[in-house]
């Protein structure tokens, strides 16, 4: 067990986890997931929000098994390696809204940091603007961290509290399998409570078991190696450490080659799958997301893996993201391939102001 533990904590370990993601994300596309969206935590949580009827954008509704797998894979790893540690209570409401606004920013860009990397590896030039925005947001977050920003300490919690989020994921899986329908409108449209897209990105998905299995493996590996796309950039800026970055580079390089082999690489800015070419809002959307991730201490994937090991604060952040996705579409803040939504830009500005207020006001004398 210790040999495994040491391997996963090593640089080779985290590169292996990154390469695993880089190989299987493009394959998930080949097996049915939407373009450059083999894995995208934000988009997939948005699809889940839609499937639950939290928004009614008919083209992005599906309960993505990858998300369920991320949490449960991390849970399995944490239990096996005795790292399952229920904890919480570090400014939960603030974390909820950081998740909320992170999602709004991510949906203005159309992707989380993972998808930004995968879009880059698929030749989508717009991803460069998103990644630059992400770096800018994290850089602002680092300034706050350096000046004593903290959401405070978490406390040990009772065992069951750590199980709540994983059990919610199992419930989601059951809803996916049984997809209950309570009736139809006079026009013949299903009334829910579960909605699955008939066309558009939400209707494109790999077979359930394949998605779940890959999700479980990613969750397991990422829990062990602490893979985090936000942390990768933050650590380079803050402590000049390239440990996490090597995992991220593993994702990009592996995904690039797998895309080439599968014929999925297409370089350019226009007509990229589920992307728009508005440089300013690609940049600023991800600036908001990056700042929110930095203030919350992890990218959306990392928040799911932490939720699996019992971190209730991370679970609150992920819940905030799902609720944020509902608002994002209901309030016309999410982008579409034709460009930013009507209220996306103003929402990004409000989100940035929120994060900046949090950054300035949450300080703690720790020593």
């Amino acid at each position: 067990m210790n040999t495994f533990k040491n391997f996963f904590a090593s640089r080779l370990g985290i590169i292996s986890a990154g390469v695993f993601v880089g190989i299987f994300a493009p394959l998930l596309q080949k097996w049915g997931n939407p373009g450059n969206m083999g894995i995208c935590v934000a988009c997939m949580e948005r699809d889940i929000a839609g499937a639950l009827g939290l928004h009614r954008a008919a083209v992005v509704q599906y309960i993505r098994p990858e998300i369920i797998g991320f949490v449960l894979g991390a849970l399995i790893a944490a239990l096996l390696f005795k790292e399952f540690r229920p904890r919480g209570g570090s400014s939960p409401l603030i974390r909820f809204f950081l998740g909320f606004f992170a999602m709004i920013g991510a949906l203005v860009f159309l992707g989380c940091p993972w998808r930004a990397l995968l879009r880059l590896a698929g030749g989508d030039g717009n991803a460069i603007l998103g990644l630059l925005g992400l770096i800018a947001g994290i850089w602002i977050g680092v300034l706050f961290l350096k000046s004593g920003y903290s959401l405070g300490r978490s406390q040990k919690e009772k065992i069951f509290s750590g199980w709540v989020f994983p059990i919610a994921m199992i419930a989601l899986f059951l809803l996916l399998i049984f997809s209950p329908q309570f009736g139809r409108t006079p026009e013949g449209q299903p009334t829910g409570p579960i909605f699955f897209s008939q066309k558009g990105p939400g209707s494109q998905h790999a077979p359930i078991l394949i998605s779940l299995l890959i999700g479980l493996c990613v969750g397991f590996l990422a829990q062990r190696t602490r893979l985090c796309t936000m942390g990768a950039i933050r650590d380079v800026i803050l402590i000049r450490s390239t440990h996490l970055l090597s995992g991220v580079l593993g994702i990009v390089i592996a995904a690039f080659f797998v895309n080439l082999i599968l014929g999925q690489f297409k370089a350019g800015f226009s007509n990229q799958p589920i992307a728009h070419t508005n440089h300013l809002w690609n940049f600023l959307g991800m600036t908001l997301a990056g700042l929110a991730f930095a203030l919350a201490g992890g990218c959306p994937g990392r928040q799911l893996f932490l939720s699996g090991e019992g971190d209730g604060d991370a679970g609150i952040f992920a819940t905030g993201m799902i609720v944020g996705a509902g608002f994002s579409h209901n309030f016309s803040m999410a982008s579409s391939p034709s460009g930013p939504g009507a209220y996306g830009p103003i929402a990004v500005i409000i989100g940035l102001l929120f994060c900046i207020v949090i950054g300035f006001t949450m300080r703690e004398k720790l020593t």
Binding site: F81, R85, S90, L145, R226, G231, D235, G298, T367
Partner: protein
């Protein structure tokens, strides 16, 4: 017995930041860091090594670990 940092309950990257700040302050000697997750344990040990400090011992304490780092 050197300086003592209580990083328990703090999320990434604060345990590392506190450790690095303390290292800058004392420059050499011994620092004891208390952490409560394996992630923090790995991050603090890794940061200490890259700064040229020696990880002397890691012992379980309570629900977490007591890490002792030193530099001559």
């Amino acid at each position: 017995m050197g300086e003592r940092i209580d990083a328990r309950g703090l999320s990434c990257p604060q345990p590392v930041l506190l450790t690095l700040n303390e290292m800058k302050k004392v420059n050499k000697g011994e620092i004891v860091i208390l952490v409560d997750t394996d992630t923090s344990k790995e991050n603090v040990s890794r940061a200490a090594t890259t700064q040229g400090w020696n990880v002397k011992s890691i012992e379980p304490e309570g629900i977490g670990y007591r890490i002792t780092v030193s530099k001559e």
